[in-house]
């Protein structure tokens, strides 16, 4: 599949009714929208607006293949996301898109997904696709890291995947209270025990940029080709249609050439603090 950005459809937001709001944790909700037929590929994002408040880029967290409503998982971090995350069922949001590049097609070999914090949301659709393809592909490994046990995104769903699927899922947190019997430590410490078949592994990474940089470096050191390491990069965006330059990273316009990019294409730029 061509993972380059899709041509901008329209700058005009489509009003969509909020069908359901699920609280994931304090300050983070998943909003399901009545979107009608809305084609997208996992990894893409939409521009979400609340009239008179502002507009922000948000990744799509729903399953692209099972007909479930369009879902956006949003964390309130500032003025606009605070208002959007507080919407109630029946209210309306403006949606533009989908925009940007998607995760590549599920590869034949082993697939490693590494997600940090809210980064599990843009990976959810790709993971569900990988589960469906599991008969014909190799291992599906999901490594997830977050701040503390109470901040594990989609915790019930993760537990279900752990129990009911063949995917190898490992979770780690930065700190925990006694009683937590899982891992505590950086997500890269989970990589140490995975015996990866490096030449046969494709990796999808999504989370804080430092986490992705370290993980990508460690994967490359293990022998995974940087052209098979894909990351989802977030930069501030305004138009989302490759016109304003707000999201530029070196030669890339991330609303068009990203958010999903190959590490081989951005590794150098990521190391430059000024970018």
């Amino acid at each position: 599949m061509d993972t380059r950005g899709h041509a901008p459809a329209s700058l005009l937001p489509r009003p969509m009714r909020v069908a359901r709001v699920v609280t994931e944790m304090a300050g983070t909700v998943t909003i399901e929208l009545e979107a009608g037929a809305f084609a997208f590929a996992p990894g893409q994002f939409v521009m979400v607006s609340s009239p008179g408040v502002g507009e922000v880029p948000i990744s799509i967290s729903s399953d692209p293949d099972d007909g479930t409503p369009l879902a956006l998982t949003i964390r309130a971090v500032g003025a606009t996301t605070a208002v959007i995350a507080a919407v109630s069922e029946g209210s309306w949001l403006g949606i533009r898109g989908p925009y940007g590049t998607a995760w590549p097609d599920i590869p034949e070999g082993d697939l490693l997904l590494m997600a940090g914090g809210l980064g599990l949301a843009p990976l959810r659709g790709a993971f569900l696709r990988a589960l469906r393809a599991q008969e014909r592909i190799g291992r599906v490994i999901l490594l997830y890291g977050t701040r503390e046990p109470g901040m594990i995104l989609f915790d019930r769903e993760l537990l279900g995947w752990m129990r009911q699927t063949r995917a190898e899922i490992h979770v780690t947190v930065d700190q925990a209270h006694p009683g937590w019997t899982g891992n505590v430590g950086l997500i890269t410490t989970l990589l140490e025990r995975e015996r990866l078949d490096a030449s046969n592994t494709t990796a999808f990474l999504c989370g804080p940029e430092v986490m992705m940089r370290l993980s990508a470096r460690q994967l490359a050191a293990l022998g995974v080709s940087p052209s098979r390491i894909h990351l989802s990069l977030e930069r501030h965006m305004a138009c989302a249609t490759a016109q304003c330059g707000r999201c530029q990273l070196g030669p890339l316009i991330l609303c068009r050439d990203g958010p999903v990019v190959r590490h081989s294409d951005v590794g150098r730029a990521l190391g430059i603090a000024e970018l």
Partner: protein, 160 residues
């Protein structure tokens, strides 16, 4: 029940994978096989750091207490890793509590014995300290990144 000589257990441990069998043999007289039950305190913060444990199976939590927050687990150490590195440098005092999560099987080295072996034969000493460097660097790196509180949004370096 099959009883494995402690020398074999050392040699089989991931940390010793790269070294020749000789080092494991020379250090075996400092070592014994130990088992901790779920929840058992392995060592306590502030006590003499008199042991190095090579975890053979299971997981241990490093805990500390933060006023107002109770006890907090700051790291887990798992199969194939080393637990207890404070015996390497004076004043040889542990920085954290270590507690077993589930059953933990380990090879426990007596720290005084290890230091004496390393002092008396610099060749062993060098080889052994080389083994200890990767876990030390790994923990330093991890602690630095965790201190950044990665999962919180950072200030916009490039505001509109």
């Amino acid at each position: 029940m099959i009883v494995h000589p402690v020398e074999d257990l050392i040699r089989e441990h991931a940390l010793f994978a790269e070294t020749g069998p000789e080092i494991a043999g020379l250090l075996a007289s400092c070592a014994r096989n130990v088992v901790f039950r779920d929840g058992e305190l392995i060592f306590k913060e502030g006590e003499t750091a008199d042991r190095l444990l090579l975890i053979r199976s299971g997981r241990a939590a490093l805990e500390t207490s933060i006023p107002g927050h109770g006890n907090v687990i700051i790291q887990t150490v798992k199969t194939g890793e080393a637990l207890g590195l404070s015996w390497l440098v004076p004043p040889y005092l542990t920085d954290f509590d270590a507690r077993a999560i589930g059953t933990v099987r380990a090879v426990s080295f007596d720290a005084t014995c290890l230091r004496a072996k390393c002092e008396s034969d610099p060749r062993i000493g060098y080889a052994f300290y080389k083994l200890m460097i990767p876990p030390l660097i790994g923990r330093l790196r991890t602690a630095r990144i965790q201190a950044l509180n990665l999962y919180e949004p950072t200030a916009d370096p490039n505001p509109a």
